[in-house]
Symmetry: C2
């Protein structure tokens, strides 16, 4: 294997030449100035001999699609995010039970936009943006050290020529007590790992000698709150996993594990009725217990519904939609309905020159007369693509520098066309709703065919990013990996996959 690998490395290394510019390091260091004794430094405003700097906050669908599309001959790109990769969120549910590997649903930013790891003026900073100074056109940041003693949190500031806010949204708990402490969300790879780790731990603990029947059942009761696509997808994957793997690998406890999905209204409310009924039927058939109820309180080992029902759980996954993040709340600017950053048709923040906002953190201002778009990957990605083109146009027309884009003709505003909703419900079943809106007429698929469309759609995308692999190897890789994943090895260290 390694012989193969190394031979190929030797051959491909030619096609990936090391950076030619020998003094790029000096160039980049020349940006840095420690301007106060309080170790507070940063990137100064760009000078005439440098490219204008686009600062991107966030590395989700919107931010990454933008960075991918930006012309690095026109701009230097600086990304600030607590996550150095983007996550293919629609596939996250599958990783919890090993249907997919964690690595195959995430992509490092350095691969999405190589300039970030190579170009002299482009950087990725593992940090959070703490505040925005629209007047001085700079953002204040603080490194993420994740509690490691490596360094103290490090503060710095970055001047921007153009700023793109793509910070996404936060999972909403509706102020219900105990959710943050005891429930697991499903938005990051580490969440999927935590779910997997806990599921595995509970499977093993429930097999301990002398454990009471009640405790066994509690440990192996997986409760999902929220009947949106994520909740439904996860429930489906989970029951799938139970039907297939648990019955074989954890045969001792197979009769104790159950999945319950709690939703206040209808599951998949945004989908066509017939699809919704189909999903309900399929989930029930595959053993998911659907409960209509509203959670009132969450305790360490049980949750309580408004009607007083107590639901003991071993694993609690929370996916009841998203709301604006605390950073977005803190921004003093006019918001859209729902408290997102208000933007115009060109995705600009009107009150702040050279500032744009895309993805779940942004919404059209009421003044635009347009509705706030749903918090969907496809919206975020389309906005990222649109804005990349817009910024490239501005750059080409000489408006890349701060306060210089005023007279540039922006062209067509952003228009969103809904290409349909997709959700999977496990066991090769899925829903594809290709209508423009809930009311409109259009194609609605269900069952295996649509599942295959769904999975292919995303997997093709996942792999399309991996342009290192040529088509032949992709096929080989996908076949092989799928073989290996047919029965994923469950390990103790957060379920290595």
């Amino acid at each position: 294997m390694s012989l193969f690998r190394n031979l190929i490395q030797l051959s491909t290394s030619k096609s990936k030449p090391l950076l030619q510019n020998p003094n790029f390091l000096f160039t980049s260091l020349s940006h840095f100035t420690t301007d106060t004794p309080t170790r507070y430094a940063g990137l100064e405003p760009t000078k005439g001999d440098e490219k204008p700097r686009v600062v991107v906050l966030g590395s989700g669908w919107a931010g990454c699609r933008l960075m991918k599309g930006i012309d690095t001959d026109l701009y230097d790109v600086v990304c600030v995010s607590p996550r150095n990769h983007m996550v293919f969120t629609p596939l996250l549910a599958s990783t919890c039970v090993g249907t997919l590997e964690f690595r195959s649903v995430a992509e490092p930013i350095g691969r999405i936009q190589p300039a970030i790891s190579k170009a002299p003026g482009s950087y990725f900073f593992l940090a959070n943006c703490t505040s925005l100074d629209a007047e001085k056109q700079m953002v204040h940041c603080e490194t993420v050290t994740d509690g490691l003693d490596t360094v103290d949190p490090w503060r710095f500031k970055i001047s921007y020529d153009k700023l793109v806010i793509a910070l996404g949204a936060e999972a909403s708990t509706f102020g219900i007590r105990g959710v943050k402490e005891h429930a697991i969300f499903l938005r990051e790879v580490r969440h999927a790992q935590e779910i997997r780790r806990k599921l595995l731990l509970n499977l093993m603990l429930s097999d301990m000698p002398g454990l009471s029947e009640e405790e066994k059942s509690r440990l192996l009761h997986c409760v999902v709150v929220g009947g949106g696509p994520t909740g439904v997808e996860f429930s489906g994957e989970l029951s799938d996993f139970i039907l297939k793997d648990v019955r074989q690998t954890y045969a001792h406890v197979k009769d104790y594990i159950h999945v319950t999905l709690i939703e206040a209204n209808e599951i998949l409310s945004s989908f066509d009725d017939s699809l919704r009924h189909y999903a309900t039927k399929q989930l029930t058939k595959s053993g998911v217990h659907l409960v209509r109820g509203i959670v009132k309180d969450v305790k360490p080992q049980k949750l309580i519904l408004t009607d007083g029902t107590e639901v003991p759980y071993g694993l609690l996954v929370w996916s009841t939609g998203v709301g604006p993040s605390s950073f977005v709340k803190s921004l003093e600017l006019s918001k859209s309905p729902g408290g997102r950053i208000g933007i115009d048709e060109w995705l600009r923040v009107p009150s702040m020159p050279d500032v744009f906002a895309i993805g779940d953190c942004s919404g059209f201002l009421e003044s635009t007369g347009k509705p706030v778009l749903p918090a969907l990957a496809q919206v975020a990605e389309r906005q990222g693509k649109y804005l990349a083109n817009l910024l490239n146009k501005i750059g080409k027309d000489g408006g890349g520098r701060r306060n210089s884009g005023g007279e540039v003709e922006l062209g067509d505003p952003f228009v969103y066309r809904h290409l349909g909703s997709m959700a999977t419900i496990g066991r090769y079943k899925a829903l594809v709703d290709l209508r423009q809106s809930k009311e409109a007429k259009g194609l609605a698929l269900k069952g295996f065919a649509s599942w295959f469309i769904w999975r292919s759609a995303y997997l093709t995308r996942v792999i399309s990013w991996r342009n290192r692999l040529d088509a032949r190897l992709q096929a080989c890789y996908r076949t092989a990996v799928s073989q290996v994943l047919e029965k994923p090895p469950f390990m103790w260290e957060e379920g290595i996959e």
Copy 2:
């Protein structure tokens, strides 16, 4: 991909029938008795209508090889270990920098011995053995909950017909202050993940604007203490990783990252002289800074040598050999030189009937006139294999039940023949020493050829366990994975791989 996968699942699921016995669960639960109100339960002594029970403590090379070889028609197998998989330790160094995936160097116990996850009387318990009662022939255990609130640590006891202690050894710190707190060992997958995570974090932090040159250099100074195979292998992999990936993916900081290997005496002291010199040359050539010194004290960001030299580090890996674990120390029985569990030529613990010890935790008693064997994977594996056969023989001859093996003819004692030492030093270079002992004459290989032998030897073994994959798919998998790993995607969540 998934279409492939599922079709294959459908086809293979036939070849993996679900458990036939419908009431095995009852059968197994009938073992359980909560004998006190203090929730203290366990597995009772086996009855006449049940198979004798072999209890295995540990899931390393020795324990897993034993479980793989044991005849489950003769015995029920119960494994107690804080780790539900075995680690191919010699390949661990490669996973830290993504040369190999974590999953490809670990194997779940349920796959090594399927009976454990299916057979009514066989179990895996994620727990530590806290004490051994040789008189009552039972072990006392406590579950590993890893600080999760899932359940309180759960105590139980297991009666054994035969007990095999295969608990391995602990990394030795020679009582040097700060080692446990600040250094990372390299013995478990989670260690490799921690190393990878810290390496990645430091790489990103060192790129922060305004960081001083000193801090940059410290963050990116990787220090390895201990010049045995593990230390040398890790240093080699690391410098390899720097030469290849860092220069491209972390170009901004490539000139700041360095590797230092600290060893009190000679590196690879157990190897042939010419091989040792070759290794030294290769390591130096690939940029590893070799330092002869003795560590006196370890502080959070620097270590101090006995000669007073201060060595700042961003990552500290400790691999200075192993010693007996606290559990082994606590056992009141006659020890071998070096404080291991004393065993006779048939790997029995003389003072305790039906108790055996194998692997790093055991050593021949002085009375046997045999030397204590080195703490090597090949010793542990050979002992596991030998003992599996011995126990099967005893079982066939009707000596499986407790206190009934007395009159069984044991046959030949265990004899160890050294098949040679292997170590890799990165960049397709390795050492293979095929002499019986340090003094003896014999074959000594170095360079690419031996590297290929080394890697193949282990990878073949790794993959040989994955009997789910047929040969064609193995090749396909290995090629594909090697492609993907050629440039591993480094992620923030402990470097998903």
